[in-house]
């Protein structure tokens, strides 16, 4: 049952017009736009650009967002 739903949804993905939300690296969004696909870009980066030590300090300090 689960598999049938998955196959059905996957088929829809390729038969309907795509609307994409791209999170993070904007290059992926640009590539899709070049192919005429509608893309909403969401700017996102991992906290402290992935530096675990800095992220840990920030966790202790909070950033009031």
């Amino acid at each position: 049952m689960k598999n049938e739903l998955l196959i059905k949804n996957t088929a829809r993905l390729f038969s309907e017009k795509l609307k994409v939300i791209n999170v993070g690296l904007p290059h992926f969004a640009e590539t899709l736009r070049e192919q005429g696909i509608e893309v909403e870009q969401v700017d996102w980066k991992p906290i402290a650009e992935g530096d675990k030590d800095l992220a840990q300090l920030l966790e202790s300090m909070g950033i009031d967002d």
Binding site: K45, A48, L57, M61, G62
Partner: protein
């Protein structure tokens, strides 16, 4: 413990934000450097940016420091002055360590007249030199020659004493009123202050008329002020520095309170550690060059402390208020909006008294928080002019403050408050 720390930071930053938004930066006096700085040594020259190893100084900074030294009669030539700097006979210091901020490369000595601003809400003061007007030959762009020397002498002997009298007669000039009007007139107030200077001169001229200064001097002063469309910049630098002095030393406060470049290193200061520097290699501005054959090889890395205005919420933070600045340095409206929006991501408040029509009457973001900069990977944008490697202005544009400055400060904060 960390909940307690978070609360302490929040309280400290709220206090700092209150100082920032309620500040009343006011031009209150003109003094010589040695009058403003107690025990100022006669053989000392104060320059832009963090302290520098003389071996690393670019030519415009050498010219500015050497020129200031010759003006003070410490040496006969710039070359001789620089040899005295290297031998230690002439001492160097950073203006940002003495409650001042340098407009571009302008270096000061004991007798340099400076504009004194005071945040009358806190009583803290800051200083900056007079802006030197429209000539290409100015100390602030790292040029020292006969024309520059003659103007420096006129500042010291005539213009400075006259402006002291004018400011006294005016009862001080409130800069906040000017900033509030000018931001809706196209001034982001770092690289453009056309409206601000006009509004300032509008207040200065009646005071000039009311003084007992000789007519010839009145004429010369008015003509100079009307020729110097960027005159307000240096007044505002003093004003922003006076506000930032009130934030230095607030325990647990994570806000940026000072920044500047010496053409080699870029330095930042934060409230929690007062006058401690956090430095990084200084970047060259991105922008437009005056000569189309010039490129980044001709530009000196950021040189000047005028970016103190960004710590106070103007310049890059207010880019959308001055889109002509962004356009004339190679950007567009979208880029201007991006700069202001990015500043909002890393600031803790906004100047709601300085409304920007194009931003649906919001004010520019203020209070750059090192935690947000490091967490989000968004660094402040500072507008500014570029020095040519041989001296003079090369162009104008913007620079992103190096994130290394903020990372170093974050670690210092963590160390000071026992997080590591």
């Amino acid at each position: 413990m960390s909940i307690d720390l978070k609360e302490k930071i929040k309280v400290a930053n709220s206090k700092a934000l209150e100082i920032l938004v309620n500040a009343q930066p006011t031009w209150v006096d003109v003094m010589q450097v040695k009058e403003f700085i107690p025990d100022f040594q006669e053989n000392m020259i104060l320059h832009a940016g963090p302290p520098i190893n003389p071996e690393n100084a670019p030519k415009p900074l050498i010219n500015a420091i050497g020129g200031a030294a010759v003006h003070e009669s410490l040496a006969k030539t710039v070359e001789q002055a620089w040899a005295m700097v290297k031998s230690g006979e002439i001492l160097l210091g950073s203006q940002l360590d003495y409650r001042g901020a340098s407009g571009a490369a302008y270096a000061v000595g004991a007798s340099t007249p400076v504009q004194i601003a005071e945040n009358t809400e806190t009583g803290t003061r800051g200083f900056c030199t007079f802006q030197e007007g429209p000539s290409r030959n100015v100390l602030r762009w790292g040029i020292y020659n006969q024309e520059v020397e003659e103007r420096l002498q006129w500042f010291r002997e005539v213009f400075g004493p006259a402006m002291k009298e004018v400011i006294k007669t005016a009862g001080g000039i409130n800069l906040k009123n000017i900033l509030a009007k000018a931001i809706a007139m196209g001034d982001e107030n770092h690289s453009r202050q056309l409206a601000s200077t006009a509004l300032l001169v509008q207040q200065l001229i009646p005071a000039i008329m009311d003084t007992q200064i000789p007519e010839k001097i009145k004429n010369d002063v008015v003509k100079f002020l009307c020729s110097a469309e960027r005159f307000f910049l240096h007044v505002f630098i003093a004003g922003a520095a006076s506000v930032m002095e009130g934030l230095k030393g607030i325990e647990y406060c994570t806000l940026l309170v000072g920044q500047g470049g010496n053409g080699f290193d870029f330095g930042t200061k934060f409230a929690f550690s007062g006058n401690v520097w956090y430095t990084s290699k200084c970047p060259v501005c991105t922008g437009l060059y005056i000569n189309p054959e010039w490129d980044e090889r001709h530009g000196v890395p950021y040189l000047g402390d005028s970016c103190v205005v960004e710590t106070y919420g103007f310049g890059g933070n207010a880019a959308i208020a001055g889109p002509m600045v962004v356009y004339l340095t190679g950007g567009d409206m979208e880029e201007a909006l991006r700069r202001t929006n990015n500043a909002r991501e890393i600031c803790i408040g906004s100047h709601n008294w300085a409304i920007i029509p194009a931003l649906n009457f919001q004010g520019p973001p203020v209070g750059i928080d090192l935690r947000k900069v490091v967490a989000k990977g968004i660094t402040p944008v500072c507008h500014g002019g570029m020095h040519h490697v041989d001296g003079g202005q090369a162009g104008a544009g913007y620079m992103n403050v190096p994130k290394e400055c903020f990372e170093k400060a974050l670690k210092a904060f963590a160390s000071k408050y026992n997080l590591i």
